[in-house]
């Protein structure tokens, strides 16, 4: 199956620094329709009917979320665009922001009408600092055209923290606090930024909004699967010959994406959804990609037959341990202990009890952590144990040889002995 570019339809064909080129391609027709011809309730009804779901990973129904925020009476409401794309292997939002910032801003303008927000923020990660000025200029051009009379948009730059992509941590960060997750409920649509109703949507989610307003909910929901409508933008990296950003209809298979489009060869496994994503063996390449199966943020890292799965999970865990905000015990301590166990396995000091410890710890973290980071940190561990159990057994059985091999390596490199 070929790519189906809807979200990315204007990427590459407009000048991201010139709103005129965006308007010439049909930009802001959806906004004008929503502003002049639709009541907020009608906009929400259309989005709800389309079945659009959150593209950041959680997959919650976007229209339903908007309706919640709309229904609450408050002195102010906020719209936040989550552009803190920190998930490992994800770079789709960077591609979108670089090539079509106006599509995002139009989506935000419509979302603002729908929920009744007067102030919006784009939370941009510090690593994408080079996009800050272009984005501010793009917002300025939209304001000059008079499309931002109902709501203002401010670009807010983060300061380097993966956890700030978690919605409650993101709000804490804007409020000038440590980016730690909050206890839920209350959920942001009822009590969010400064205690007021807040809608937080991923860049890609908002990009879909103008297309749904233009073409109708039925057009959108005709694409995809039961619970996953429309398309999904994927970021493919790792052992592929054509890494990059691809947009496919929901429900397309892993094989179409990784082998067909990205050109993977000799696969052992893929990790879907970043460091907290599922690790699937090559035998599962015909799995469709959707919320019902595997999706996450759409990050896909291909691993060829030469790769060591334990090394992969150790790398994931190193990242998660580093980025855990430290607020809740299961995540803060759990990632620490797991990292220690993976370190032992890598040094050839693993023992059989380690497998049970990893399994028990992962299950405990999944049910007891405060936010998605700790809950999902268990996923790659449990998947690698499920599909690559023998790799662990072999590693432990070969500990003796591994130690003698590593000992030799230490003598060879002067860096080793420090």
């Amino acid at each position: 199956m070929a790519e189906k570019r809807i979200v990315l339809s204007k990427c590459g064909s407009i000048d991201p620094q010139d709103i005129g080129t965006y308007i010439a391609k049909g930009g802001f027709i959806a906004f004008i329709k929503a502003r002049d011809k639709m009541k907020p309730q009608a906009i929400i009804a259309e989005i709800k009917k389309s079945g659009l779901t959150g593209r950041g990973g959680a997959g919650f129904n976007t229209g339903l979320k908007w309706e919640l925020a709309r229904s609450i009476k408050a002195k102010a409401k906020y719209l936040l665009c989550n552009a803190d794309e920190g998930e490992v292997g994800t770079f789709k939002d960077k591609y979108i922001l670089s090539n079509d910032p106006f599509g995002l801003i139009e989506g935000m303008c419509i979302a603002g009408l729908a929920i009744g927000a007067q102030q919006a923020f784009i939370y941009l990660r510090n690593e994408y600092h080079f996009l800050y000025d272009p984005l501010v200029r793009a917002v300025g051009q939209v304001r000059e055209k008079g499309y931002l009379k109902h709501m203002d948009i401010q670009v807010f730059e983060g300061a380097g923290a993966y956890i700030c992509g978690e919605e409650s941590a993101l709000m804490n960060s804007i409020e000038g606090m440590r980016g730690e997750s909050r206890y839920k409920p209350p959920y942001p649509p009822t009590r969010g930024l400064w205690g007021l109703p807040t809608i937080i949507n991923n860049v890609e989610t908002l990009m879909n909004v103008p297309h749904i307003i233009n073409n109708g909910a039925a057009w959108f929901s005709a694409m995809g699967t039961g619970r996953s409508k429309g398309t999904k933008v994927f970021s493919v990296s790792g052992d592929v010959s054509r890494p990059g950003v691809y947009e496919l209809e929901m429900g397309s298979t892993l094989r179409e994406l990784v082998v067909g489009l990205a050109g993977a060869d000799d696969l052992k496994a893929v990790q879907i959804g970043g460091a907290t994503g599922n690790i699937l063996p090559a035998s599962m390449l015909d799995t469709p990609l959707s919320h019902e199966t595997y999706l996450g943020s759409g990050a896909v890292v291909a691993l060829n037959s030469g790769r060591d799965i334990i090394d992969v999970v150790q790398n994931d865990m190193h990242f998660l341990n580093d980025e855990s905000c430290g607020k809740c015990t299961p995540c803060r301590e759990g990632t620490e202990v797991m990292l220690e166990i993976f370190g032992r396995l890598a040094r050839g000091e693993g023992h059989e009890g380690d497998i049970n410890s990893l399994d028990a710890l992962a299950r405990a973290m999944a049910v007891s952590s405060l936010c998605g980071l700790g809950q999902a940190a268990a996923v790659p561990v449990l998947d690698s144990l499920r599909y690559f159990y023998n790799d662990y057994i072999d590693r432990i059985n070969q500990s003796h040889f591994l130690r003698s091999y590593l000992g030799g390596e230490l003598f060879k490199s002067e860096e080793g002995i420090r």
Partner: protein, 147 residues
């Protein structure tokens, strides 16, 4: 921009803190005790609160850094494309390990979480500039442009 007492103590009063910390860190290289106390005064917060926020974020150093900060991605996609060799090359070139600053104060060297350049792995940033598709042999040339 210094907030008035009324602004600082309002409900949204702390909203300016993170941008202010970033601005200070950008201009002075790091957040020393003096600048953190200054901001604590402006925002009517205890110093430990400002220190707590500063140390939470990777881009808010509280210790002096070099003139240029090298941030090499060590997450999975870069790891698979042998970021380790690039790290080794930088170590050799500068004579410092990750977490250290070169003696002449020109470079700080850090290993960081995914910088979203996985399609150009292995990748690094020097200050705000992104370098992708790195090779160990190409490192010297890049570092020379910052000399």
């Amino acid at each position: 921009m210094v907030p008035s007492k009324k602004e600082a103590l309002s409900e949204n009063g702390r909203a300016g803190l993170l941008p202010a910390l970033k601005d200070r860190a950008g201009r002075e290289g790091c957040l020393n005790r003096e600048s953190m106390s200054g901001l604590a005064g402006q925002y009517h917060l205890p110093l430990n609160e400002v220190y707590g926020v500063s140390t939470f974020y990777a881009f808010l150093p509280v210790l002096p850094t070099g003139k240029n900060i090298i941030r090499v991605c060590r997450c999975l996609p870069c790891h698979l494309k042998d970021a380790q060799a690039v790290i080794g090359s930088i170590k050799k070139e500068l004579g410092i390990a990750p977490g250290e600053t070169s003696g002449d104060g020109k470079f700080s060297f850090e290993l960081v979480s995914c910088i979203g350049a996985c399609d150009q792995a292995p990748a690094m940033m020097i200050n705000d500039k992104l370098y992708g598709d790195l090779t160990p042999a190409g490192i010297a040339e890049i570092l020379k442009s910052y000399a």
